[in-house]
Symmetry: C2
């Protein structure tokens, strides 16, 4: 049975205009009348516009998540982590996909604002000033996941520079000296800043007195395809590479695939290490060694932080998680 | 600048109560007044509760998508297809993840109802009576994607039975007789009904006079892990299998992974075919042959159908898409 505003007014013994005023938060009624009307609204489960419920307890029990990419395995793993926390708490999760696109991102921020979410997580999103200005206006808790910002927005992330340093050092300690890197898109990072994973790679080489040449780095985007073409380009330029440091696991998967099709045995002829440790790594042939950035924990931490802010409006601290090498079968000693 | 209901009333030269009544669709005002107020609301971009905008044109330019699983590659590919259509039209997409869980599904249906979506796509969801009853109440266009229903809800899907028949026939024509199948969860399918992909597999064997034994089928769920354990169980029972028909590509990927770790060469010692033709197939080692069910086209068709219903309120026809074998390197002639 669907109730109308008239049913609410009748049962609360007030005029429909009063119910309207209460729903639109306009004043002109007593607190007692407001409580009475809100009780009836809850009893009847009446909601003219999906808003009454939000007004009755100031919560919608819905959070929003903006993600740049829905087909990235890492992002879907982030979503899994966020949802497991949200569902325990009884909150629904709305996922919107921005493609790292400025206009789309603004549109979805506005949409989520209109839909009156309790809180927002921005996953792997570079926080532009335009977004920051808008989320300030939204007045809901916001947490950055796997991203860092100069703006005062709490974040949960990893130290990309150190993780890349660790991964490269691992290859060096296995005896590799001719190490190529396939990196994601330069422009995805903060304009004018250094790319942390590339810098970590260079620093490790430098600390172990291995010369660095620009030709040892190939820039693509972050997809499997970029690993495929990246390996081909690198080997054309530097046929003697014995190891590849892939900036993420999807690039690493592309390297494994290209190596298979080129008849290059991994790890016998070429060692490959990825980063992120997505769940697909262990199912590759060979299983892909990777630098784990504890992404599952990262996503859960970001969600917990956001709910803490929703529930207590307290300040929270940023969080930078540790990383570790997950050894599988794609790297061998040189 | 944020406007209040008072600004709207003032600029439209009516009382705030009139604006309220218009927003709540209560009547008691002329069409002319309504138009005037709605114009001002649009001018000021005023929305007290995310609803006014919906009322002004009866649209929210937002669609909802319910998916059972966010980490399944197939589902993320569906979402890509839906979003590409929605974004061209200028509609936002809200994605909610039900885990095929009845209570969560109902909760998300209610949520999307409250959020006033223009239309809904249910991807790979078994339409229970409870859901059907609710979506009738929602009074928005609904399309089933990769699912079929007895209820009068339009669907876009493939013929799973015939696709499985074709995949099995392909292995038979390559000379295989000892073919194992790894199937998804029996209970995911309509209770009491036959599992279409299993039935297609059995029919092909029967038509080519190959005896069928229950021990040749392993039931798991639909994940890569199920392919890994499935292959081990099957080979324990039937060591002489020369080919595996995997009910979906993720199971197929698990079979490739288990074979690699067991030292069984694919396709030299074991041929493997998957189904769905997800984009990961071509990156496997070896690249996985699969029965394509045109999922990208399927998702786009479902989205186009839904927008057609939103725009014209016309009846639409169900759509069953063709399938085809995508030959790669994981099957060889026996």
């Amino acid at each position: 049975m669907t109730y109308t505003i008239k049913d609410v007014a009748q049962r609360a013994n007030v005029s429909t205009a009063t119910v309207s005023r209460i729903l639109n938060d306009q004043g002109g009624y007593s607190e007692k009348t407001k409580r009475k009307v809100l009780n009836v609204i809850q009893e009847l489960d009446y909601y003219p516009s999906g808003i009454a419920r939000g007004l009755t307890n100031k919560r919608t029990d819905t959070i929003g998540v903006l993600v740049p990419n829905l087909t990235s395995s890492l992002i879907t793993e982030f979503l899994n982590g966020i949802e497991s926390v949200a569902h325990k708490i009884g909150s629904s999760v709305i996922v919107c996909h921005t493609e790292s696109h400025g206009i789309k991102t603004m549109k979805y921020l506005q949409l989520l604002h209109e839909k009156r979410i309790d809180g927002l997580i921005l996953a792997s999103t570079l926080l532009k000033k335009e977004y920051y200005d808008y989320i300030v206006k939204m007045r809901v808790p916001v947490v950055l996941l796997s991203a860092y910002s100069e703006f005062p927005v709490p974040y949960v992330t990893a130290n990309d520079y150190e993780a890349a340093y660790t991964g490269t050092k691992y290859l060096i300690q296995k005896g590799h000296k001719d190490i190529g890197m396939i990196s994601g898109n330069k422009e995805e990072w903060i304009a004018g800043n250094l790319i942390p994973r590339v810098e970590g790679f260079k620093s490790a080489l430098s600390d172990y007195n291995i010369p660095f040449y620009e030709s040892y780095i190939e820039y693509g985007k972050f997809s499997i395809d970029d690993g495929v073409t990246g390996l081909k380009h690198l080997l054309n330029r530097v046929p003697d590479l014995t190891a590849i440091f892939a900036e993420n696991d999807e690039i690493g998967m592309g390297v494994l695939s290209a190596a298979y099709n080129l008849g290059i045995k991994v790890p016998e002829k070429l060692s490959v290490i990825g980063m992120d440790d997505i769940s697909l790594c262990k199912f590759m042939s060979p299983p892909l060694t990777s630098v784990s950035l504890s992404h599952n924990e990262m996503a859960e931490k970001a969600a917990n932080l956001m709910f803490k802010m929703i529930n207590s409006a307290t300040e929270v601290s940023n969080c930078i998680l540790d990383h570790q090498i997950i050894e599988r079968l794609s790297v061998r000693s040189q």
